[in-house]
Subunit: 315 residues, 2 copies
Amino acid sequence: MGSVWKNSRVMKLFAIQTPIVQAGMVYVSGGKLAAAAANSGALGLIGAGSFKPAELHDQIIKAKSLTNAPFGVNLPLLYHGVEEQIDIALKQGVRIFFTSAGSPKKYTGFLKDKGCVVVHVTSSPELAKKCEEAGVDAVVAEGFEAGGHNGRDEITTMVLIPQVVDTVKIPVIAAGGIGDGRGILAAMALGASGVQIGSRYAATVESSAHDNFKNAIVKAGPGDTMLAMKGLVPVRLLKNKFYHDIAKLELSGADNEIIKAHLGKGRARQGMLGGDLIEGELEIGQVSGMIKSVLTCQELMNCFVDEYQKARERI
Amino acid sequence: MGSVWKNSRVMKLFAIQTPIVQAGMVYVSGGKLAAAAANSGALGLIGAGSFKPAELHDQIIKAKSLTNAPFGVNLPLLYHGVEEQIDIALKQGVRIFFTSAGSPKKYTGFLKDKGCVVVHVTSSPELAKKCEEAGVDAVVAEGFEAGGHNGRDEITTMVLIPQVVDTVKIPVIAAGGIGDGRGILAAMALGASGVQIGSRYAATVESSAHDNFKNAIVKAGPGDTMLAMKGLVPVRLLKNKFYHDIAKLELSGADNEIIKAHLGKGRARQGMLGGDLIEGELEIGQVSGMIKSVLTCQELMNCFVDEYQKARERI
């Protein structure tokens, strides 16, 4: 494997064997997925967003029991209990933190002082610059095609990556729309030194997504996701009844309070973990249109290596 | 130059020296731009959409007077007078046609019978398949980040290209978000055998866009375009007063008739050709955020070659 991947700054930063990061995702990436991704040579991330502090503790313990490879924690800063989560992760020896959905200034200094590697997720070159100034070690630059929460400027991966690469000196990890080895190579061509892959890992054996949701990802066609709730926090969803109801409200000019009331609570858990494909919120990327199977993390890595190698030979 | 570009199916198809197509664009790409692009080794295209038949005739004559290299005509099928335009182009010896915004079945057979190379523009794998069945020689697969008229599914270049490549056997020309050599290489990594570049050519010396518009492209930042008029025909615009007025109407839930009335007639001409940056419609791609200069087509080609080579060495 060492012969396929050119040693990149991202590989050195995390001491991993490939330039691939498995994205931390709510309801999808617990300790089992992070460990399996790590064992295959990627950087595994536990998505802390959907875990209460005690649950996060258990997921870290689980990951440690399943792998000796490095893994990290993704912390969306918009949830309550972030500081407790950080405290638990540090106590359990986690030293890799991906932060998102908040200011990179908030915890970067604190985490760096504890000897951590800190990465912040950005959807624009301007925010990437702020991340660099806040002292992060790398940025994830995430395009419009990505699943889940998304930037307001709707900048796609193709145009975002080169602009972020031209703006900062720290390594850039490309995210959004990457689901196979061709996408990994394309991201590298654009100047990234690593990639973060989410949706493709949601449809793995080790993902904690409900089987219904995994099957829905596999069945999804190219145009089956859309960015919704642009007035609140934009989020890319699989087009199910829940999505269409929200879209109809938005098209009618309904204000945010009405949309919030319809949204209610716990819809993402209901869909992604509970498997309710009708009334649940199914956060997933556009790349779901090209995901055709549920694989183990190791099988997936074998595909990435093979596809990347073939694409590189072609160009 | 022959040593940089791997001879691709697209280069063979058009008998050109590079895998680059200069997009046919309304009010931007007349005979002067098409000829200059052709002289630099790209395939030049005259954008017929904004020309009356007699004007198209003059633009073809102009292009022929400026180059001996092959060039073609782009025909958006949604305008009146398309058949007259085809007739004029054929009589002037044009044998390369790019068609868009209509059914590929309509003219492909007729043009193929006249010995033409026919390419149709698509924004989804499904339509790409229909194009192939209609007998076209290649497809342009154009992503959400592209300027001007755009697909309803909002599929980005990063995820569109591999899916189209996996769907059809004919060559795929990637478009949308490509503005430098890194983007060209990324498109090739995704499986394309050529690229179509629009916005970057709009800001060339030989483009017929108004200088005000060219300067606005150079000044545009990463998040300065947005897809608008989704209820009519979605179009990507630079965010000026005209755009904000339309966006406000859309957000309020205004129906299409109200938006049409506000839109009025001739707004694209007013903006792109007339230079009215306030009330004019300025169609441009997201990649405008990374365009920092107005260059000649030959200078631009030199940049593409240099950037492509450097990116390929890097990976």
